[in-house]
Symmetry: C2
Subunit: 161 residues, 2 copies
DNA sequence: ATAGTAGCCTAGTAAATTAGTCGGAATAAT
DNA sequence: ATTATTCCGACTAATTTACTAGGCTACTAT
């Protein structure tokens, strides 16, 4: 099991889409700016999200991405699964062949842990996140920063040095 | 966050120690054989476990390792922490500086997930594992295999090819 | 004393993964 | 036609994993 920036980026980007729903397709350039994620990297992640039928793309100018399902029908676990291949904590992919064909001493423990994590994350939808206070606060801050083009340039210069 | 064989090996090895408690120090060679983990790799893991005061070592012939605390007083979370540095799911190490000094859109979600995982794993002690049916079954199987030296050689030859 | 058994320590390494970059299509709106 | 965007493939530096190799140190049994 691994949860790195890859999965975190995917969830963040999907949440960004959910927050700006109803404004037509959202371009990856917008998400890149707002969330501070490399555009090319986002492209790779969205290729996987699209293959997993989580988003729908519109090409050409004014194009971008939209959620393929309703916000309430997409949960965090499947977003991570889409880019990461599973939040499984076992080494044997739950097959039980961890120690030369047989289950290892701790196999069931990792199965339990996997269930725990999956249960937790699959119980949280994008709609749930949109309604959270902390998410709304951060989203508002990001709106304010986007409205100040000078600050944007200053911060990108600072991060480049 | 990452949970790989590293953390799994550590927990498995610690559980092996817990299962064979009361028989004096257990050598890493024994654990290596029983659990199918490379001896040199075990040495590296146990160096960390020792630094974190989870095990106590006895050098020289007949030496090995013993749990430093009672089985009921060592939980799975701290074993993983010892070799892995934390089961933290955030990218900022819970500092909240994920996006140029400020919290990112999904910071709190990862904090919640971290708490969830830590809560689950810290609630399971080595004693709990020792008493589980599935663990006892696997432990008995490992005892039987160890009692058949020919089979051991045959399986090691097979895995080497 | 000394041989042998263990733990201890450092260094190296192949393979995989991460988090990107780069360049160039294909597509659609103006 | 130009431009904005998704799409696609190849490449890469840095990091991590899961090891191996080899030598040293402490201890015990003989």
């Amino acid at each position: 099991m691994r949860l790195t920036t890859k999965g975190r980026y995917a969830v963040t980007a999907m949440l960004d889409l959910a927050l700006h729903e109803g404004k037509g397709p959202i371009s990856l350039a917008d998400i890149s700016e707002r969330q501070g994620i490399s555009l090319s990297y986002l492209e790779q992640l969205f290729a996987k999200l699209r293959r997993n039928e989580l988003v729908h793309s519109v090409r050409g100018p004014g194009g971008g991405y939209q959620l393929k399902r309703e916000r309430g029908e997409i949960n965090v676990a499947e977003v991570i699964d889409a880019v990461n291949e599973s939040v499984d904590a076992t080494g044997c992919n739950k097959t039980g062949s961890c120690q030369s064909g047989e289950v290892c001493l701790t196999h069931h423990l990792w199965c339990d842990l996997s269930d725990q994590i999956h249960g937790f994350l699959s119980g949280i939808s994008l709609a749930d996140l949109v309604h959270r206070h902390d998410v709304q606060e951060v989203a508002e801050r990001q709106q304010r920063v986007m409205a100040q083009p000078e600050k944007l340039i200053a911060s990108s210069v600072a991060s480049a040095s």
